[in-house]
Symmetry: C2
Subunit: 228 residues, 2 copies
Amino acid sequence: MEHPARQNLGVSAYARLKRDIIRGVYPAGEKLLMSHLKERYDLGTGPLREALSQLVAEHLVVAISQRGYRVAAMSVGELEDIYDARANLEGLIVELAIARGDDGWEAEILAKAHTLAKVMDLSGPEEMLDVWDRRHQVFHSAIAAGCGSRHLLQARESLLDQVERYRHLWLCETVFSSEALEQKRQEHAALVEVLLARDSSRASRMIREHLMSPVPIIRDVMKRRGLE
Amino acid sequence: MEHPARQNLGVSAYARLKRDIIRGVYPAGEKLLMSHLKERYDLGTGPLREALSQLVAEHLVVAISQRGYRVAAMSVGELEDIYDARANLEGLIVELAIARGDDGWEAEILAKAHTLAKVMDLSGPEEMLDVWDRRHQVFHSAIAAGCGSRHLLQARESLLDQVERYRHLWLCETVFSSEALEQKRQEHAALVEVLLARDSSRASRMIREHLMSPVPIIRDVMKRRGLE
DNA sequence: TTCTAAAAAAATGTAGATATTTTTAAGGCA
DNA sequence: TGCCTTAAAAATATCTACATTTTTTTAGAA
């Protein structure tokens, strides 16, 4: 008989904390009080400190010696830098993917693009956005996977984790109009076409623009909320 | 009066463990026994687990639930992927640096290149290699800094950390002939020239080749040591 | 108000309790 | 004997409770 494979508590603490930070449960810069975390997650300090250490390594949390932990700050400056870095890295990855991707890669892109395009058929507004976002991520990951480099994809993941708090701001604030959805769909369709045509420089430019487009919107949200 | 700013033990445990892993004190794949670590670093499990958690996030250590920690494996496959990823990322960063770097950037490069070129004047063989390596890193960092993106530089640092174990293999094994040194010096000089001329595509290609050159040597060392 | 000192709160570290895995040893069977 | 299974013992990982140290707050005095 197989046990349910007992995880150590640090791992689940890590997952839950990360999720809560990304979802904005703890605002940027907020002190993460050990006593509060112990109560909220019903855990001892040991596992919590393990989890926090990992989050420090991922730059989502900052540790100040003898003064505990804080949620990493957010700023418009960082917003712009993360998106810039992400756009450029993704551009590079797409170029490599076009040079290196095989038939399976093309097929995966088509499959994920199709799944993504079919989202609107679904039910409620909240849930639809959720599903759309998940499939959107999967679609872009399928494109990136073609570069074939575990370590470039790892760098990409790391930036995704760091951008997630800003992106969440966008998802929350955006009343997702069907025009915007339609707009995105067209961008994706155009992107797929250029990818399959293996037009490296055009694909790279397109993906960079595609990724940068939420920046002005998020910047506005931040300024409105006094997060600048 | 200022206190010496007491660090928590996890931080120094992290630094020492990382150093030892990179230096090959613990071979790839080796089990990191808590009892051994406690004795070696004279620390309790708490700080050690904090340090190990950070190293897990940096992919230098792997955690297996209820079975403790191991040094991350090494393989020729990973060697090739890290160097490939690094070369491509560095190529991208150089292109951005050329587009974005200002006069200060150019000046820094010239300064660091000069310091690097002057290393040979120094004393012993071991120490010289040490100094050379440090200045070499500084030189390349000065180039990369021009891209102006904290997050791209952070991704670069992360790859540097991960490649360090392989690079250390190279530094240890290489009896550093003055021809090789001379060869490197020429590559650097050529690189500086192209950078200052702002020849983006040539600089990118040159740096990619420059970074890839140790790969065959390291691959040989690994095969000889049965690390493949 | 501004400074100081006591009190409270918080972070950090260790020791030891608990749970899990690994090793060892013994027994059964071909 | 050789090999597998099983059970106990040892080693190990993990977690919590509490002790210690440091920071922050509070309250009183100048």
